[in-house]
């Protein structure tokens, strides 16, 4: 496969995943806005808005553009703003452009799917959004992302194109889960507490779970109240939870190992080491030197893996293939 194709497909998958994440964060903020006043709604609401911007890495650029963080500016920025690379508009545009450029490398069904999603968002505006209803629109976005993953699964031959799409999806997903964990636990310095100590905290935690669509999963696995320590454990160690760090890094490891065909041993080792530490570790020792430093270390190892993939497969030195 062409190096350029590999790069475009990897980014295409990342953008689709990002669209999904943005929709979930907006959806949560919207839910919070519907809570009764006495639950500390306004504080939680503002937190969920700024938290969403933080998790998408665009808080500063938002503040550079808008004076006040209110619902309309928040939604405008995250849904329609063409200058915001994390907006739903921008991510779908980028994914569709990659798809258009690489339509030979993906299945026709995949291109038609991303193209029709794009055509709809292109024609959507603030009035259209109000007419349709925000929850309906966000549901649609999430369904589009899910449909694209499903169509990929069901129609794309398992060649390198598939592998690079997988790598893009899981790097973006791991990155997103890390950002969410950092947002909720990064400031605590020590380990997450065993019980939620206020209603506000309960909402923050359920927000976290909903933002990765794992609220029901949590209930199913723990059959217990929502506790910070258990939520952290689930999102780090549980490899059966699709958006946990263990699940994402294991998927990255498998993809990279298959791609390497016995080459790039150092890169494969890095992927394997990270995956097994997260999968077979325990929270106490992982968080021994503080939650924040643990998350930073995983983030930097993930970046190193991402750089390694670029160096070996996307911008390799010119050597004639045997």
């Amino acid at each position: 496969m062409l190096c350029r194709t590999a790069s475009e497909l990897l980014w295409m998958a990342r953008h689709i995943e990002r669209v999904d994440n943005a929709a979930r964060l907006i959806d949560y903020a919207h839910h919070v806005a519907l809570l009764p006043e006495r639950s500390g709604k306004n504080r939680v609401l503002a937190q969920s808005w700024s938290g969403a911007l933080q998790a998408l890495g665009v808080e500063q650029s938002f503040l550079d553009k808008y004076r006040n963080l209110d619902e309309k500016s928040f939604l405008q920025y995250l849904i329609f703003d063409q200058a915001n690379p994390a907006s739903i508009w921008s991510c779908l545009y980028a994914a569709r452009e990659s798809g258009r450029a690489q339509r030979g490398a993906i299945s026709a069904d995949m291109y038609q799917d991303i193209n029709s999603s794009w055509l709809r968002v292109r024609d959507m505006d603030w009035d259209g959004l109000n007419a349709e209803g925000l929850p309906q629109f966000l549901d649609w976005v999430k369904r589009r992302a899910a449909a694209f993953r499903g169509i990929t699964l069901g129609t794309l031959v398992r060649d390198d194109a598939y592998v690079f799409l997988q790598i893009g999806t899981f790097i973006e997903r791991a990155d997103y889960t890390l950002r969410l964990l950092d947002m909720y636990f990064g400031e605590t310095g020590t380990q997450p507490s065993a019980e939620a100590d206020s209603v506000a905290e309960y909402y923050r935690l359920s927000a976290l779970l909903q933002a990765i669509s794992a609220f029901e999963t949590y209930r199913k696995i723990y059959r217990d109240t929502v506790s910070p320590a258990r939520v952290a454990e689930m999102l780090v160690l549980r490899s059966d939870v699709p958006r946990s760090l263990a699940a994402c890094t294991t998927a990255i490891y498998k993809s990279v190992e298959g791609l390497a065909h016995g080459k790039a041993p150092e890169l494969v080792r890095q992927c394997g080491a990270l995956a097994s530490e997260l999968r077979y570790g325990d929270m106490e020792s992982l968080l021994a030197s503080g939650t924040s430093s643990f998350l930073k270390s995983v983030m930097s190892r993930l970046h190193a893996i991402s750089d390694g993939i670029t160096e070996h497969f996307i911008e390799p030195t010119d050597i004639v293939a045997s």
């Binding site: 496969m1 062409l2 190096c3 350029r4 590999a6 452009e97 258009r100 450029a101 339509r103 030979g104 026709a108 291109y111 038609q112 193209n115 029709s116 055509l119 390198d160 791609l259 065909h261 497969f313 996307i314 390799p316 010119d318 050597i319 004639v320 293939a321 045997s322």
Partner: protein, 464 residues
């Protein structure tokens, strides 16, 4: 479609019957369905001069253009003959130059032509083929004969519309295909791949083919991606290729991989900055070295533009006699060469009746259609001709075939032309069909999509 107002030509009878049974509302619904499907599938082209990235659909008309078997077999023989001749001409002008020595064509017309690439002299090409893919634009005139408007031998486009229009018609109106035998066109990508394989450098058993595109913002990018996918070859840009030891490689995730045949959809000027335009970012430095060394083949060859230049066009019938010793099957449109004083004088006196074209223009840009132009437009063009008479040719407007076409007011006759695609490698192959372009404005003769023309499916009947 009609011989006169009251009779339907026999090969259109089945379609006319069907049309009679089909309600206007159903047709309208189908037209709408076609538009939606073209958008979703993303069959678009980019219009030059508009904001970059503006994608448009080429209007698709649901009324097919039908050609009976007998007419097609004559056309096919004519196309084969014409493309063989043009390839022989290209081999000659980059080799022995017999035709120039014979005095049949003034040497300066060829050697002084901007499309003549002296870098091609002395290169031996596989099978002696220069134009592997030719799109020959023909029209059927009132007398029932076919005339060649121009020979497109550089990077002819539009074949994806031939294939997609057929797919669309079969999807919209499957019952029509059950009513009569229409020759299939879907083997074109296979035929193209075979042709490209057959002209690989000598001694290569399993050649690797790639399609070179200028990139996703080129007007014909959809077609490039479509053909690459249909043939199962890599779609590459200049930046994906590199030349090492006069050998062309593409950069893959597993290292450099050699390429033997490049179906290039990039113009000569941009192919190799070492030889042609130095500022080209679309090409591959060193490509010409590899080509000259016979380590890679290009389809079409560099320098084919000298054979489809409008100043050379008037000589093609003579060439047929010269190279093949046959009489030409397809007609040329009578052409006034404005480099000749007599022709210039006649043309200037008859501008309102004539079509005047730049010898090196393409795509319907830079032409005057006398009968459809205002006095002011004609006068402006007169000044341009006088400034450089040799840069123009003039032709009478033919009484072109029309075909019923859906327009705002319902079905109405509109002028059409036809671009069949001729593949030349070890053998010459022509898929029975082509791209029918239709002028959507009443009376207009300009069918180019860049000028608002549309397309139709083209049916070659398997019986008369």
């Amino acid at each position: 479609m009609h011989a006169d107002e009251n009779t339907v030509r026999p090969h259109y009878r089945e379609f006319a019957n069907w049309l009679g049974e089909t309600s206007a509302a159903r047709l309208e619904r189908k037209r709408h369905e076609a538009d939606l499907a073209f958008h979703r599938v993303g069959i678009t082209f980019t219009v030059y001069g508009e904001k970059s990235g503006t994608e448009r659909l080429i209007p698709f008309d649901v009324v097919p253009r039908v050609i009976p078997a007998g007419e097609w077999s004559m056309l096919e023989r004519g196309l084969r003959q014409r493309v063989q001749t043009l390839n022989a001409f290209l081999k000659d002008v980059y080799g022995e130059q017999r035709i120039l020595k014979s005095g049949l064509i003034p040497p300066d017309l060829v050697l002084g032509n901007t499309q003549y690439r002296k870098e091609m002299c002395g290169i031996k090409l596989p099978e002696d083929i220069y134009s592997h893919i030719s799109g020959v634009d023909v029209v059927r005139a009132g007398d029932g004969d076919y005339y060649v408007l121009e020979d497109n031998l550089r990077v002819p486009s539009g074949v994806s519309y031939m294939l997609e229009n057929r797919k669309m018609m079969m999807r919209l109106f499957p019952e029509l295909f059950a009513r009569q035998a229409i020759a299939p066109v879907d083997d074109y990508p296979d035929a193209l791949l075979d042709t490209l394989h057959s002209v690989a450098p000598a001694g290569i058993e399993k050649p690797t083919v790639a399609l070179l595109t200028p990139g996703a913002y080129n007007s014909a990018y959809y077609e490039h991606a479509f053909l690459a996918q249909q043939m199962g070859v890599e779609l590459v840009e200049g930046q994906d290729l590199t030349v090492v030891d006069d050998t062309v490689y593409m950069r893959t995730t597993r290292g450099l991989k050699r390429i033997h045949v490049i179906y290039r959809r990039v113009d000569d000027d941009f192919l190799d900055p070492e030889v042609f335009r130095k500022d080209s970012m679309l090409g591959v430095p060193g490509l010409m070295r590899a080509y000259r060394a016979g380590r890679v083949n290009l389809a079409n060859a560099i320098g084919t533009g000298v054979a489809d230049d409008k100043s050379i066009y008037p000589y093609v019938p003579e060439m047929v006699r010269f190279y093949l010793d046959e009489s030409p099957i397809l007609h040329n449109v009578p052409t006034y060469r404005l480099r000749n004083a007599d022709d210039l004088k006649y043309t200037l006196e008859h501008l309102p009746e004539l079509v005047v074209k730049e010898t090196q223009g393409a795509g319907g840009y830079g032409m005057l259609v006398g009968p459809a132009s205002t006095k002011a437009q004609i006068e402006e063009f007169r000044a341009r001709i006088l400034a450089n008479p040799a840069g123009y040719i003039a032709q009478p407007t033919l009484a072109l075939s029309t075909c019923p076409t859906f327009v705002e007011s319902g079905l109405a006759p509109r002028h059409i032309d036809l671009r069949p695609y001729v593949l030349a490698g070890k053998e010459v192959r022509i898929v029975p069909g082509g791209l029918t372009r239709v002028a959507l404005t009443a009376g207009s003769l300009v069918v180019n999509s860049s000028q608002g023309g549309g397309t139709k499916d083209t049916w070659i009947l398997e019986a008369d």
